[in-house]
Amino acid sequence: MEPEQPAAPPSGSTNNLMNVGHEGNIQGQMEEFLGPQAEYDEEEEERKYYRRKRLGVIKNVIAASVGGMIVYSVYMGLLQMQLILHYDVTYREVKYSNLGLEDIDEKMLMGINVTPIIGLLYTPVLIRFLGTKWMMFLASGIYALFVSTNYWERYYTLVPSAVAIGVAIVPLWASLGNYITRMAQQYYEYANYKEEHVQEQKKLPKGACHSYIIVFQSVFYIIFHLSFVFAEFPMRLFLHSYLHDYNHTLSRVSLCGAGIRGLIPGFNTTVLTKLPQSMLLIQVESVLMSFAFLAMIIFLVLCGAAYRPTEEIDLRSIGWGNIFQLPFKHLRDYRLRLLCPFFIYSGFEVLFAISGLSLSYGVCVLGLKQLWLLVLAYGLSCSLFSSLSLSLLRLPRWVSLLGGAAVHFVLLVVLLAWSPLPRNPNLLAPLLVLSVLWGLGTALNKTGLSTLLGMLYEDKERLDFVYTIYHWWQAIAIFIVYLWSKLPMRAKLSILLATLLLACYCYWVMERRLARKVPPRVPRIPRPRHKVTRHTERLKYNVYSPEGRCPGGSQWVTCSTNTTKVRSSVSSGASHDTNAG
């Protein structure tokens, strides 16, 4: 953001070295210039300034959440619509004949699901090279590109863009998690600007910004989970009138739920009553496209940078080799190791909700026409119950994670035992309840994990590594779900259940070790490589240059503490705040 850092009241006395010659003259002039404003209330101005900063942080969080929500609404809505359209054999035959669109879809899903496996290799490098905000912006651009390629579905447009999405998924999520947590830290800094450790830019005291992390993460997930709701809009508003009812689509389905193998065995290959007009399709895609574009603009304009430029230089300057290695080194930390099953489960459950639960239970019983309702209920409950994690402000942190796990455990046991018969619209209410409850578990799981990571790793230099690991494991889990789609439902449920139990056990072990204060093996972050010496006499550059001549960001504080006039730096910092974003 702005390079100007709030400075301590001028100490003045210590650094008199610069007072030789003209240097003193300038200071004198400045004092003269500022002198007449007698009513200038420094405290008040400072307070206002930091209030603005705090509002800026809140704006950043909201913008990032809304941006991410729009990106995923558009992406999931489009994907769902296209997969349903392409599922219909008549549509495929008429529109693409020998193009083999089913094959393309398969390849596309493969691109989306398989590519993230290598995400661990490049994500931190990418994030640190571009910066967190720019990473989010770039990812939203890639998602928008995917929307754009759906105008013209060809092998050579869809598959590369799907691969690009696969490349962008882990960096996007890692930077989102990093961003939200970082915002919580910034908010703390701006809220407690008078504290010495803030002014000195030292490490924050342990647990200082936990409450902000909890609030920000739940706000993020409250907003983000609405994407499931908006993703159903194309389905409900556009595709709904073209779909056959359940008597047609489920005519050859004999069983649903736990007893089946694959998604919906016997599902009719024609689901569309008539083919939608392509002009209409283009209109729908254009609406989606404009929203994707809106998301890009939100990321570009409304999201401020997560780190100051000096911090970013520091983050970068530990060397690309180190940046590359550090995520792997972090895996030696027992906290992350023990959380891995939970990361994996987190990936399992969200994909199970939209594929296994919604399709093999929901659509299989109610028909394709009710899919939107189930996913909508799931999304709404996710969003709503994400606010439950605010309870962590009062309750111990394991409540959220284990609470969600308990809900899912019960649901999994129920699902294991339940094989409903198809074509039974009376089961709508129980299925909606199932979706809502699963959404409750998802909400607690997602917010719990992100919050927990933010709490465990307060060090701003490691956030991106940690979130990269989290979302990489999640991506691996999603890949596994993609692989297992042909398995019997009971096997899938059992894997879910086993993972859940393992995850809870490991988490419990971790908490126990933390309680016993077993020191984790956290890899040392090397000092920035650029050689920095303490120079006290670079004041004069601050006079004419807001950017200053300070080499090395970490030395910035020392160099600017020597500024004689706090107010000048504050005001220039404020004025540059608007430019630098």
Partner: protein, 794 residues
Amino acid sequence: MSLINLDLCFNNFTNLSHSNASLPASLTMLYLCRNNLSTLACGWSFLRLIELLDLSYNPHLPSKAFQGVDLRQTRYLRLRSTNVSVSVLLNVSNVKAGHVDFSGMGLKSNKRLTELCTLLRMRVHWIKNLRLGSNGIKNLKSNTLSNCPKITQSLDLSRNQLKSITCLNFLSGHKHIQSFSAEHNHLTSLPSCTGKNMLSFKNVTELSVRYNRILSVNSHAFNITPNIKTLKLNINTIAFLHREALKGLKKLETLRLDNNLLTDLFNVTFEDLHNLKTLNLRNNHISVIFNGTFQNLGNLTTLDLGGNKITHFEASGLDGLKGLVKLYLDGNNLKQINSARYHVFQDTLKVLDLQKNQIRFLTEDRESPFMNLSKLSDLKLDWQMPYGITLLPRAFFHGLYSLKSLYLSNNRISHLAPDAFDHLTDLRFLTLDSSCVGVAQLQPGVFKNLRKLKTLIVENMGIQNFSKAVFGNLTELEILQLNSNVMRSIDVDALEALPKLQYLDLRKIPLSCTCENSILQNWTLNNKRVQLVYLYSLPCQYDKKFKFYNFDTKVCYIDLGQYLFFSTAAAIFLFTVIPLLYVKLYWKMKYGYYVFRSWFSEQWRRLREEEENCKYDAFVSYNSSDEHWVLNQLLPNLEGNGSSFRLCLHHRDFELGRDIVSNIVSAVYGSRKTICVVSRNFLQSEWCSLEIQLASYRLFDEHRDVLLLVFLEQIPERQLSSYHRMRKVMLKKTYLQWPGSDCTDPVQAQDLFWNKLRRALRKGSIADEEKTDKNEGCCSNDASDTSLCFFVQE
């Protein structure tokens, strides 16, 4: 228009009562066969104007019905299978006896025939045609018909059960008869009719004994009818045709011998038939045509030898056929086309039928067998057995300039050369159906010379795409049959390129009901010119329930999507990349911008002109950490201390309120030289590097040597390498080294340093000045140590 012919057969009339109505005056032919008439019950004049009246197969119609009906005008009255008796009829009706057809009236025995003759004789003396068919006559005594009126034209005895016609001896007294027909009888042989007491019918021109069981025809069998012109012996079982059976028939023009069992033709068989025009020998068992068989048939125009087993012609087997126009050789066992055999009639032959032979070519190198058949208009080569013709030799059709029709279907041709049909410029009809093996690759331009072609049949050729390159030249084409090919889509442009097309058959083509064919669907439904056969029953491929004419094309609208894709993808790409580049390359771009601006601005030019009176002698670029050296050493030594250089220091001389970068630019360009005070700190500073950048820009791009490098510390090269911008300059420039404390005589070394610097400052900034003079030792008393202090970097 007026009604002439009225056919009311197969109805259920029981009578013809008509109240007051009458038949139109124009009506002359009335068919009432196979009704259920039991009486006519019509007015006297109701049938007055009818000339042809057919009342056959009305089994209950009695003779009395004709009482009171005027049939004087009737020229032909047919009463077969009715209940009419001839004798009663002739008594009650005024119909002319000679105009009644007596076929099928139960005149079975000789006695009843004699009675009929007597009755007729009472009324007429001459009768034109006597029809006695279907009467079940088993034999005719020689005197049975002698009482009859004289037959002037024909006697028809078809469909009786005659076993023999005994040299027509029952026709004694009917010398004027012209035509005799005994088809569908049980004749078994035609005996020899020579002898003294044989009658002779000089007027008979036509004799037909078709559909009998004649096994042998003996010599001189037609001696009694020497002037016969048409002789029909076909559809018998003639195995033995005596060499002299046709002896003396000099006026014979048409001879039908088809569908018999003849195996050999002798050179005397047709010896006397000088006037023969048509000879039909189809479906016999002839295997070889011997020399001279047709040698006297100079007037023959049609020779039909189809359906035999001919394997070859002897060398002069076809000699003598000087006027042959049509030659049918289909269904034989010929293995090759021997052009030498055809030279006799090569100028007259118009039709050559070689269908279903065994012609096959395996090599290409033979000249056209049709070379001289320039009048040939019809050539059939289809259905070669059993392997097909396999290969069309190069220029196979060379010489067939008049050919109008060509049949090549079912020939399993493996490859159609692109010039195969080039010589057939006059072709109107071409059928190629099933003529290829598997998938045909019709070469572009294969039909390029067939500009008069009206009908093209390319059924079942395995054509994969219907392209303009192949079919585009057929400008006169009217009928095109494309059925049973394998193209999934048809380009409408190619169809539009056939301007005269009227009829198009697309059945059994696997046309896919996909967007690819949406234009075709539209064309088939909306074009006004071309008739499409069974268009509304063409099925879709993926589901036969759907029809091609109405598959859903709404979903196809590809173009707009494509444009939107390209535009949005480009927009998103730019919108993503430009901010990223802006953020990442902001400073680089800013440098570039200022350099660019100064390059073009007026100010730059002015600076160049007034270079000598620059504002400053040198702009000192340094890092704040080296400020004390600048202030304590540089300033006193250059501004004071005898020399009066005007230096530009950023903290002293920069214009207040101006942008830093423009300050730096104007400082660099407003000074004759730029002194860079290089230390480690300097190298790390972004601003310093901008200053170096700008100065070195002047050095390299304007050829003005403005940069003076002064090193405050020893910086090893490997450290420099991490500051690549600096290194780029260092590689090109010499520089001064501030003598540090390790010099043996620092004071003297420093003096030397200042001298060098002053001299460098005084120099003009033209690039071609020598740069080498700085290569001097700072430590004059230790010459060997020079490289430590001053050195030249190449």
